[in-house]
């Protein structure tokens, strides 16, 4: 059993628990860094998806990660959220939480939220219920048998519904939403989890221009309160929101800096445009 050692100090939620094990949530960001990836390697049948990848994300930062297909962007997210275990290297969430020792549910509960490439919502549940299920609370079996929403929780759901422009669709089945609305619902679900770190995998895929713009605004608004990592192919979108961009190539960092810097980096141009 993996008891996570988490330092007191950072006030974050109540003493809730995930996966039956009681964790005291609290991410130690005393060194200003919320996520450390160090020397991560992952290979699938000999193919090196990540090759000694090292990456730090600052607390409250909005970081965009770009790179050609197969650069390892999604694999990196899989490693951070516990879906894939690295062959070597370490992942730390704050100073103290060793992600490699936690299950997916425990990582989510510790404060890492993830949006998938393909929007994944509970299609048979109403929009309201989707947010209710995602909400940060005691998520153990026994607690959920008797759980009832109090008025503060209802207010939080209502706020999120407004934020993601779905207040009028609260009672509709999530499966009936448009692709872009599902993307927003999924982001709303992440916010209900009150994560410290948000991983957004292609958040504007399939969105209209207007929706894309609104999503960009949302990402910018989220940074600061949360740390946000955006993986995106849409360069205009990235240019619109990016402060710091990391370019991945063949499983490791190729370049890092402002959008202007990486766009003028010769190696990046080479990778993207070919020789």
């Amino acid at each position: 059993m993996n008891a996570a050692v988490i330092r007191e100090g950072d006030s974050f939620g109540g003493g809730a628990a995930a996966g039956g094990r009681v964790l005291t949530p609290g991410v130690d960001v005393s060194h200003k860094t919320i996520l450390y990836l160090e020397d991560i390697s992952v290979s699938f049948d000999g193919f090196k998806a990540l090759n000694r990848l090292s990456l730090d994300i600052d607390n409250g930062e909005l970081r965009c990660i770009i790179g050609p297909n197969g650069a390892g962007k999604t694999t990196m997210m899989d490693v951070v959220t516990g879906k894939t275990r690295p062959d070597s290297g370490s992942v730390f969430f704050g100073q103290t939480i060793d992600v490699a020792k936690l299950t997916e549910a425990e990582i989510a509960h510790a404060g890492i939220g993830r949006k998938f490439q393909k929007p994944t919502v509970f299609e048979q549940h109403s929009v309201f219920e989707n947010l209710e299920l995602a909400m940060k609370t005691d998520k153990r079996v026994r607690a959920s048998l008797t759980a009832r929403l109090d008025s503060a929780q209802r207010d939080r759901i209502a706020e999120t519904l407004d934020l993601i422009h779905l207040a009028g669709d609260a009672d509709r089945a999530a499966g009936l939403l448009s692709h872009g609305q599902k993307q927003w619902l999924e982001i709303g679900m992440l916010l209900m989890q009150e994560p410290r770190l948000l991983l957004l995998d292609e958040p504007v895929a399939g969105m209209t221009d207007e929706e894309t713009e609104r999503t960009g605004e949302l990402c910018k608004a989220l940074a600061g309160k949360h740390s946000v990592i955006v993986v995106e192919h849409d360069m205009d979108f990235v240019a619109g929101i990016a402060r710091k961009v990391t370019v991945l190539h063949e499983g490791s960092v190729l370049a890092e800096g402002s959008m202007g810097e990486v766009q003028n980096d010769e190696r990046v141009i080479e990778v993207y445009l070919g020789r």
């Binding site: 995930a18 299609e123 995602a134 008797t146 609260a170």
Partner: protein, 379 residues
């Protein structure tokens, strides 16, 4: 009890409760009156045969509700639920065998099959089975512990979908082979039969049968309400979410293994209780109850009635089994063909079962009438 009573009150609407009350009145007033009080020649007399058949089918309906919880709501198709039913039945059967006393063929302390095997004493696992409370404990514990241990390893290893179904099928098959062996100590292929008494009462009288019938009805209603409570709770919404998008559940901070294990074990325990009610009513339990075909039939009941509605499971168990009892008398050799045909037709034309078809008809009928334009307000 206040909040709990209020919570139960919310499980169904006014119409739902009325239908339930009407069913309860039929089960607990009409059937006993028509069977025990009316003379045999009366037009409204209900025969012991009908009571026994209905009682048996109610036990099946309990199993169907348990199946709906795990398959309809959680999306885990078990093809081994007959095993849990049979184990509950065997646990009750052990008690009933002990109650035969010296009235068996060989007039021995031991059941006939043990005398036949030349055993001199009860094996250790038969100890205390002459105590009803202990047998009742076994009814719950044996299926429960087996399901928990099996489920723990299966769910932890993330065995899903058709792989899980096949393993459950193999599990029940393995137990059937085990119980077919005479040396296992459960009567081999003959199983247990020729019961005489239960709780000191003669088992074959109309009164005892009626008591078992009413008890089955009460357990069925209690199971339905408990299941309804579960699926209407947040726990139930998590189960459905696991069915539809398990990874999202996991990344939302829930541990699906715990949820699956809880509902899986509960489902198995409910089956065990149903089996324990079934055995004294039909008067026999043998390893054929563990045959893979029996477990598949349970899934067919739920599919016919409609997955994910609970009431559909009960309807499906009723429709298929009444049809079976009529068919196996009228055209005994065609029953399996009919069952196969029924399953194909339901899959093709009623994907949501009888309940789904009924809903569709009702919705169409409603659409024809003008609907007030007021929109439902957000919850």
């Amino acid at each position: 009890m206040g909040p709990l009573a209020a919570g139960i009150g919310r499980l169904y609407g006014r119409r739902g409760w009325s239908v339930l009350a009407a069913c309860a009145a039929i089960l607990f007033l009409l059937f006993p009156l028509a069977n025990l009080v009316l003379p045999k020649g009366s037009l409204f007399y209900i025969s012991d045969y009908t009571i026994a058949l209905t009682g048996k089918i109610m036990c099946y309906a309990i199993v169907a509700v348990a199946m709906d919880l795990i398959w309809g709501y959680t999306g885990i198709l078990s093809l081994g639920h007959g095993l849990f039913f049979a184990l509950g039945g065997y646990a009750m059967g052990m008690y009933l065998m002990r109650m035969i006393g010296r009235e068996g063929q060989y007039q021995s302390e031991l059941p006939d099959f043990m005398v036949f095997l030349d055993w001199k004493a009860y094996p250790w696992y038969w100890s205390f089975t002459d105590q009803f409370w202990y047998a009742a404990l076994l009814v719950v514990l044996v299926p429960g512990v087996l399901a928990f241990v099996f489920g723990f390893f299966a769910f932890r290893s993330r065995i899903k979908g058709v792989y899980f179904s096949i393993i459950t099928q193999a599990l029940t098959f393995a137990f059937m082979l085990l119980f077919f062996r005479n040396d296992t100590g459960f009567g081999g292929n003959n199983g247990f039969t020729d019961f005489k008494r239960i709780l000191g009462l003669p088992i074959a009288t109309s009164e005892t049968r009626m008591a078992l019938f009413m008890l089955s009805g009460a357990v069925l209603i209690a199971t339905l309400l408990a299941a309804r409570f579960i699926v209407a709770s947040k726990f139930g919404r998590v189960l459905t979410a696991i069915r539809d998008a398990e990874s999202r559940v996991m990344f939302s901070g829930y541990n699906p293994v715990h949820y699956k294990l809880a509902i899986w074990t509960l489902s198995a325990v409910i089956c065990g209780i149903a089996g324990a009610l079934y055995v004294p009513q039909v008067g026999i339990i043998n390893p054929s109850e563990m045959s893979p075909a029996n477990s598949i039939e349970i899934a067919i009941w739920v599919a016919v009635g409609g997955r994910g509605s609970l009431v559909g499971a009960i309807l499906g168990a009723g429709i298929v089994n009444f049809a079976k009892s009529w068919f196996t008398v009228a055209f005994p050799e065609y029953w399996l063909f009919f069952l196969g045909l029924l399953f194909i037709l339901v899959t093709l034309y009623l994907p949501r079962g009888v309940v789904g078809a009924f809903d569709q008809v009702r919705r169409r009928w409603r659409e024809r009438r003008p609907v007030p334009a007021a929109r439902r307000s957000a919850a």
